[in-house]
């Protein structure tokens, strides 16, 4: 059964996108479609919000951007993890695991 798409938790979007870029440079559409496919449309994220996050992370120095040519010969902006971004992904992942573990532990506890 599928219900309404889930709202993305604050702060997790950045992590998802860092993950999306962890296999190499992608343009914005690539990141959006990867997330959509991977989550099988369970998350409700506007594509515009993804770009805001990409630009923000670029300015924080987590991502580096270059202009390149996309598959259909279009000018596209490619994003790539920097060393700083890679470290951030690692930290965010560890934080998420601890958080999810703690929440699960509480929810599955018996009396």
């Amino acid at each position: 059964m599928r219900g309404q798409p889930l709202e993305v938790l604050q702060g997790t979007l950045d992590t998802l996108m860092l993950k999306a870029l962890s296999w190499g440079p992608r343009h914005g559409y690539g990141v959006a479609s990867w997330i959509r496919e991977t989550t099988t449309d369970e998350l409700s994220i506007e594509d515009g919000a993804l770009y805001t996050a990409l630009h923000r992370m670029e300015q924080r120095g987590w991502l580096a951007a270059t202009w390149g040519v996309s598959e259909h010969n279009r000018k596209a902006k490619y994003y790539e993890l920097t060393e700083l971004g890679r470290r951030e992904l690692k930290d965010a992942r560890a934080r998420w695991t601890r958080y999810a573990g703690a929440v699960s532990a509480v929810l599955e506890a018996r009396a």
Binding site: Y29, A32, G48, A49, T52, H55, E71, A76, K77
Partner: protein
């Protein structure tokens, strides 16, 4: 072209970045890819389009947000880059200074001289003309009262010293919130031999309150302190005196100090830096009525009559009043008051309220005017320095052409290069301003103590304002200096510069020659000023006074304050004369009732059988009552008849000696000896003229003829109260001044200190404005010449170096050494001669057209600005300097070995 470049140079942050394009491209690509993917998945194009937009969200809003983010980031990046470049360029500047210290030192020294001269002059003028006295609240509303009176026979004159009656009269004015009076004078401080003269000011009780001054400790005066009669002796002292004499002790209030013949109790201390509102610093203030009784006599003439012009008035305008309105009202009050007063009937008298600050210059001295002129002209020195430095920088720019071309080729932007050049100039100027401030501090104190000893400076020669001025001047000078090389960089052609370091292109040479000519123009103006002031000083100093002031001393003792009556005073001076004659080194001595350049005196004079007498512009006649040795002692020649002798005593026939002007005015074409005159209002005996002296100046350096006459002291019948001892020294007068003072002091115990002055010192203040102008203009002209010499040398030397090859070829073709040297000299002279011609024409035309004749008369002492000797000397000295500057390059030009020169490239 250039202006756009300059704008771009400073654009820094203001320009909106074209971040929008990038964001649009990014979003478009996204949407296109999305739509294609959806169509490939089987959607119709319209649906795909709708879904893609739907998934993206509010495109316009996201777009705006993204652009804003990118802009902000780009701005931050730009700032960082800008500061980074700046730091790098600064590093380059200092590395450059280290690499070629000679060039840097040359540039900085030249600019420092220019800045130093300017700051010194501005400091001087600031103090003389612009700075309000410290601690005065709202000085713009404080005004000084001046009265302009018009006399039918000798024109109008303006006076700041007015009668006491005008104080009461003008206090009625509705335009003023208050009006106070003060009288600047001096008083002997202390007792006996250690006593000395200090400046004292008598003030009305509201003087301090009107100005808004608050005491540092104690209190000021209030009206109860200063009754018309019977006030007790109290005083307010300056902070300077407080620190010097009482070590700044808090217990100073209540202590006493000896002033004149009395002790005064101190009631308060003025705040630090307040020394009255005139240029002469005051050390002690006394209540006006009490002080006037003490110093002016016990009668009431000084407050009741229209004869005693002595007090100065300061008022404060009501907020809504203007000086013009207040002056008009005061004029009306004055005219109404004197309308029914027959001695002072003056329906053309005009009151003018002067601003507090401008009024500082009303002491008739030319010094402030000349100082202002000096400050204006000192800007020329700065311009000369700037031109010279610009020239040096151009020369260096040429020799660094390859280096610069390489940097351009490597992708360093032109804007960046220009900015670096400007930065270098500003840095040089900044360093120069520090050195210049040092020069100003030094020069300022020297000028103050040597050239302006009459003015007491309270603040240090360099203060915060001057610091700001110095750095402001440095910034402007730096930008101006950097402009020429920057313009050159703008037209840079890196390709050509990389290829060759050949001869200079025409326009650079033209720019450098132009700068040189400009320097010559300014130098000639400076030289003219210096020359005119030397001429003025020389003329003023060599004026024939009619007597010989060198070797002459004058002495007097303020016996009135020591409680001597008139008869006692006269007896004292008779004794003093005998005593002084015994002092070794005294050739002769005489008594007189007036002291040349110090005091003068007039009395009513009638001629038998004449109703009225001709008058001169200088009024008079003035008289002195003298002992017989007077003429010999002063060196005043009796041209006809005889001087006085011991037989001209109280019992003998009344006689007088007149000067040539008086003889000519009263008895034109007649023999004056044997004529007679009634001297004194009550005179019943006609005095016989027994001699005629040459005219002697006794008031100012102006050579308007003055009528004067002399009476035997034994026959004055109480006409004149004052006495001065005139002493001629056999040798140097300063050597015996101390002995004369001590001799007088031994005549009676507890006398106030005797004042012994050199006659030369009495004359010196009259020469001071001209000395100031001559010295400072001379100094500036010397600097200008030195700078011009260096500039010319560097330009010619550089050109010779650049043309080595050509010169070598000429030598090889048979040109003689002297021929080539001459070529260089002529080249230098041509530029400078053009500059001289322009400078002379422009400055003389400016004087002719722009400077009013009466200002010129005040600025120069009996010297025409077109004086041919001065003009010739100015041009000549610049030509000689030019010759000197071209000597070495010329020799070098003649000695280029032909083969080496050709091989050199």
């Amino acid at each position: 072209m250039l202006s756009r470049g300059i704008v771009r140079l400073f654009e820094l942050v203001a320009r909106p970045f074209r971040g929008g394009e990038a964001v649009d491209r990014e979003i478009a690509t996204h949407l296109e890819l999305q739509i294609e993917a959806l169509i490939a998945g089987g959607m119709s194009p319209e649906t795909a389009r709708r879904v893609a937009l739907d998934r993206f969200g509010d495109v316009a809003s996201y777009r705006r947000g993204l652009i804003r983010m990118d802009d902000k980031a780009a701005r931050a990046r730009r700032w960082r880059a800008w500061w980074g470049d700046l730091a790098q360029d600064l590093g380059l500047v200092f590395r450059g200074l280290r690499r070629s210290p000679g060039f840097g030192i040359g540039v900085i020294a030249t600019l420092a001289l220019g800045i130093g001269v300017n700051v010194t002059m501005i400091g001087l003028v600031d103090r003389l003309l612009f700075k309000a006295p410290a601690h005065v609240v709202d000085p713009g509303a404080v005004v000084r009262y001046t009265l302009t009176q018009t006399h039918p026979s000798f024109g109008s004159f303006t006076n700041a010293s007015v009668t006491f009656k005008e104080l009461d009269l003008q206090r009625r004015s509705g335009a003023l919130t208050g009006l106070a009076a003060y009288y600047p004078g001096s008083v002997s401080y202390g007792r006996g031999e250690s006593a000395r003269s200090i400046r004292a000011s008598l003030v009305t009780a509201d003087f301090f309150g009107l100005l808004g001054i608050r005491p540092a400790t104690g209190r000021f005066f209030d009206p109860a302190d200063d009754p018309i009669e019977g006030g007790s002796p109290i005083a307010v002292i300056s902070e300077r005196l407080w620190v010097r004499e009482f070590a700044g002790s808090r217990e100073v209030v209540g202590r006493s100090l000896w002033l004149g013949s009395r002790q005064y109790q101190i009631v308060g201390v003025a705040p630090r830096g307040f020394a009255g509102i005139d240029l002469n610093a005051v050390d002690v203030w006394l209540p006006l009525n009490t002080g006037a009784r003490e110093f002016l006599g016990s009668g009431d003439e000084w407050r009741d009559t229209w004869d005693w012009q002595w007090v100065r008035l300061v008022g404060r305008l009501r907020p809504e009043a203007t000086r013009e309105r207040a002056s008009a009202e005061a004029t009306a009050l004055y005219r109404a008051a004197v309308a029914d007063h027959h001695e002072r009937k003056d329906d053309r008298g005009t009151v003018t309220f002067q601003p507090l600050i401008a009024g500082r210059g009303t002491d008739q001295s030319q010094t402030p005017t000349i100082a202002a002129l000096l400050a204006g002209v000192s800007i020329l020195v700065l311009l000369i320095s700037c031109a010279n430095v610009a020239n040096l920088m151009l020369a260096r720019g040429l020799s660094r052409r390859r280096e610069i071309a390489v940097r351009v080729a490597l992708g360093v932007g032109r804007g960046r290069l220009i900015r670096a050049t400007l930065l270098e100039s500003v840095c040089h100027a900044g360093l120069a301003s520090v050195v210049g401030l040092g020069i100003a501090a030094l020069a300022g104190s020297v000028i103050r103590s040597i050239l302006l000893p009459g003015i007491d400076f309270i603040d240090p020669p360099v203060d915060g304002r001057l610091l700001a001025v110095a750095f402001g001047v440095a910034l402007v000078a730096g930008s101006v200096v950097g402009l020429a090389p920057a313009i050159r960089l703008w037209h840079l052609d890196p390709a050509a510069d990389l290829k060759a370091a050949g001869p200079t292109t025409g326009d650079h040479a033209a720019a450098r020659t132009g700068l040189l000519g400009f320097q010559a123009v300014l130098s000639v103006v400076m030289l003219l000023c210096a020359g005119l002031y030397y001429k003025s000083l020389w003329t003023a100093a060599s004026i024939d006074f009619g007597f010989r002031p060198e070797g002459l001393l004058t002495a007097d003792i303020d016996l009135g304050v020591a409680g001597y009556g008139r008869e006692q005073q006269w007896a004292f001076y008779d004794q003093a004369l005998e005593r002084v004659r015994l002092v070794p080194g005294v050739a002769s001595a005489a008594l007189t009732t007036t002291n040349p350049f110090w005091t003068r005196q007039a009395s009513s004079l009638r001629l038998p059988g004449r109703d009225s007498l001709p008058r001169l512009k200088t009024a008079g006649p003035y008289f002195s009552a003298v002992t017989p040795e007077y003429f010999a002692t002063l060196g005043l020649r009796v041209a006809r008849g005889r001087g006085f002798a011991d037989r001209d005593n109280a019992g003998a026939q009344r006689v007088m000696v007149i000067n040539e002007t008086m003889a000519r005015t009263y008895w034109p074409g007649e023999e004056p000896i044997g004529k007679c005159a009634f001297v004194g209002r009550a005179a019943t005996v006609c005095r016989e003229v027994v001699g005629v002296t040459v005219d002697a100046s006794n008031e100012s350096l102006e050579v308007e003829p003055v009528m004067g006459y002399y009476l035997p002291l034994a026959q004055v019948d109480g006409l004149a109260a004052d006495r001065f001892v005139m002493i001629r020294a056999t040798d140097r007068p300063e050597a015996i001044a101390g002995d004369v003072g001590r001799a007088l002091q031994t005549l009676a115990p507890n006398l106030p200190v005797a004042t012994v002055r050199l006659m030369q010192d009495q004359i010196e203040p009259l020469l001071r404005p001209w000395r100031l102008g001559a010295t400072l203009f001379g100094l500036m002209a010397a600097i200008a010449l030195a700078v011009a010499l260096v500039g010319l040398y560097s330009v010619l030397a550089f050109q010779v170096a650049q043309r080595r090859r050509e010169l070598g070829i000429r030598t090889a073709l048979g040109a003689g050494q002297s021929e080539l040297a001459k070529m260089v000299v002529v080249q230098g002279q041509r530029v400078v001669l053009t500059g001289i011609a322009i400078g002379l024409v422009v400055s003389l035309a400016a004087v002719k057209l722009l400077v009013p004749a009466d200002l010129l008369r005040r600025l120069l002492f009996q010297t025409s600005p077109f004086d041919p000797v001065v003009v010739g000397a100015a041009a000549g000295s610049l030509i000689v300097t030019t010759l000197l500057g071209s000597l070495i390059p010329a020799r070098r030009a003649g000695r280029v070995p032909p083969m080496e020169a050709i091989r050199a490239d």
